[in-house]
């Protein structure tokens, strides 16, 4: 009886803590939005963050995309050819990438590559009192540090997801057409007939935009929420990757229900 009560109490406590945390993130989100004009009036600041979040993630995004496309093509070809439907290989890869894998895997990689870097950087700035110093110089860290990083990430993410999908489709093309010897026309033709720009390509971009918001918001928030110790920075960085990844998967599930049911 007592144990059951304790368990319930713990559950209640955890729920309340989570809700409070989410509330903080929401307030933080609106605070960042309120300070966003600064990120656009002084675009070089955001430019720099696009460089760190986007350009520096390019290599891992392109390489991962290429390889995911190639293995999808290899596996897909084996399975599809047992049903005599190997012509649909291009369709399989393109739809899988555009609808799900492209935005999701690119966002997961982005969380690991750029999200953790953002958290670590801001966390370190907090630990070494750079944020405090900034505030004492009457410069709002939300406008100077948070907003440019947030928008840099949000702008980079859809581009990275598009590049990821493109690299994967190119990888599939290399395997299917160049290696296996599928007909070039059938590969692209079937793909074009099946992929719809509105439901597939545009929804893919919408998804990645939402993921961009999720990852960078989590990263910037955790950075500002860091406990100012070395251990605090490392645990905040871990939290960014874990929380952002879980949030991406959950958001993807919800968006898939709304976007692709009945298509």
């Amino acid at each position: 009886m007592n144990m059951a009560l304790n368990a319930l109490r713990r559950l209640g406590n955890a729920t309340l803590k989570t809700l409070v945390h989410l509330g903080f993130i929401c307030r933080f989100f609106f605070a960042v939005l309120r300070h966003s004009p600064a990120a656009f009036f002084r675009f070089p600041l955001t430019m720099r963050e696009i460089y760190f979040a986007g350009v520096l993630s390019l290599v891992i995004i392109l390489v991962s995309g290429l390889f995911i496309g190639m293995v999808l093509a290899l596996q897909g070809y084996d399975i599809l050819s047992t049903y005599g439907a190997s012509e649909s290989l291009g369709v399989l890869v393109a739809l899988a990438m555009l609808r799900e894998l492209g935005p999701v895997v690119a966002a997961l990689l982005f969380a690991g590559r750029a999200g953790s870097a953002i958290t670590a950087e801001i966390g370190l700035m907090k630990t070494t009192e750079q944020l405090l110093a900034m505030e004492m110089m009457a410069v709002d860290p939300l406008a100077r540090v948070a907003a440019p990083r947030f928008w840099g990430g949000v702008i980079s993410m859809p581009l990275l997801a598009a590049l990821f999908s493109t690299a994967a489709i190119f990888g599939a093309y290399l395997i299917a057409v160049q290696l296996i010897g599928m007909d070039n026309g059938a590969f692209w033709g079937n793909m074009q007939a099946a992929v719809d720009v509105r439901t597939d390509v545009m929804n893919s971009m919408v998804k990645s935009l939402v993921f961009g918001v999720i990852v960078t918001l989590t990263a910037v928030f955790e950075g500002f929420d860091t406990k100012p110790t070395a251990e605090g920075v490392s645990s905040a960085t871990t939290r960014t990757v874990v929380h952002a990844s879980l949030a991406i998967l959950a958001a993807d599930f919800i968006m898939t229900i709304f976007m692709f049911r009945g298509v």
Partner: protein, 276 residues
Amino acid sequence: MSATVTSSQDLVASLTNVRFGYTPEQSVLDNITMRFPRGKVVAIMGGSGCGKTTILRLLGGEVHPNTGQVTVNDQSVPDLNKRALYAMRRKLGYLSQFGALFTDMSVYENVAFPLCEHTDLSESMIRDLVLMKLNAVGLRGAASLRTNELSGGMARRVALARAVALDPLLMLYDEPFTGLDPIALGVVGQLIRRLNDALRISSVLVTHDIYQSLKIVDYVYFVGQGRIIAEGTPDEIRNTSDPFVRQFINGEEDGPVPLHMKAPSLTQDFLARSAS
């Protein structure tokens, strides 16, 4: 006391009957009253964790007192809204314990930062100002270095140049002497005094380095257990008979500040346990 603190017009900042605690139960500062006159260097001294840094945070508006008044430049700091608070902070220079240079910028960019953020000066004007400030701390030659290429003392001086970049009214120093070798210590100490007099600013110095600070300051407050324990000019402090100040100056391990934390008596703690 009356020698340094005269009428209220001469005060650049003051704390009156300030009580403050980060949690309601535990108060860090208890009924503190301090006066910071214009043009003077005032030191706040005390052991670690006695709430010295909190006083700077109160002056900067980072935290608000539970009761009592904090005024800077005749404005009540807790009553300022964000815009007014930021306007007030532009008149403050703040040197953090770690220097807190921005690690993603060069020395030049660090010093230029407040100028770029708060003024519309042309690039060449900013360049001149930055080099002037760097020259004042003797580091004009380091302008193009990265912050991680600086020694601790140099970093502190660059941070000092950055803090005075906007010619503040009041400089707040948080432990400016920590972790410096004796030479750098002397350099930073003299710089604080020279900048204070040359730029006609006022300074508040939070430190526990008693030798260095007694050399350069005009007035000293001793803080312990959240209260002002002693105050006076450096000469008064040197000649005081106050046991706390004496312990602090001479670095005695036991005295009014006890070596041992409050605990049950030895017999109780050891014998009682072995008996049971």
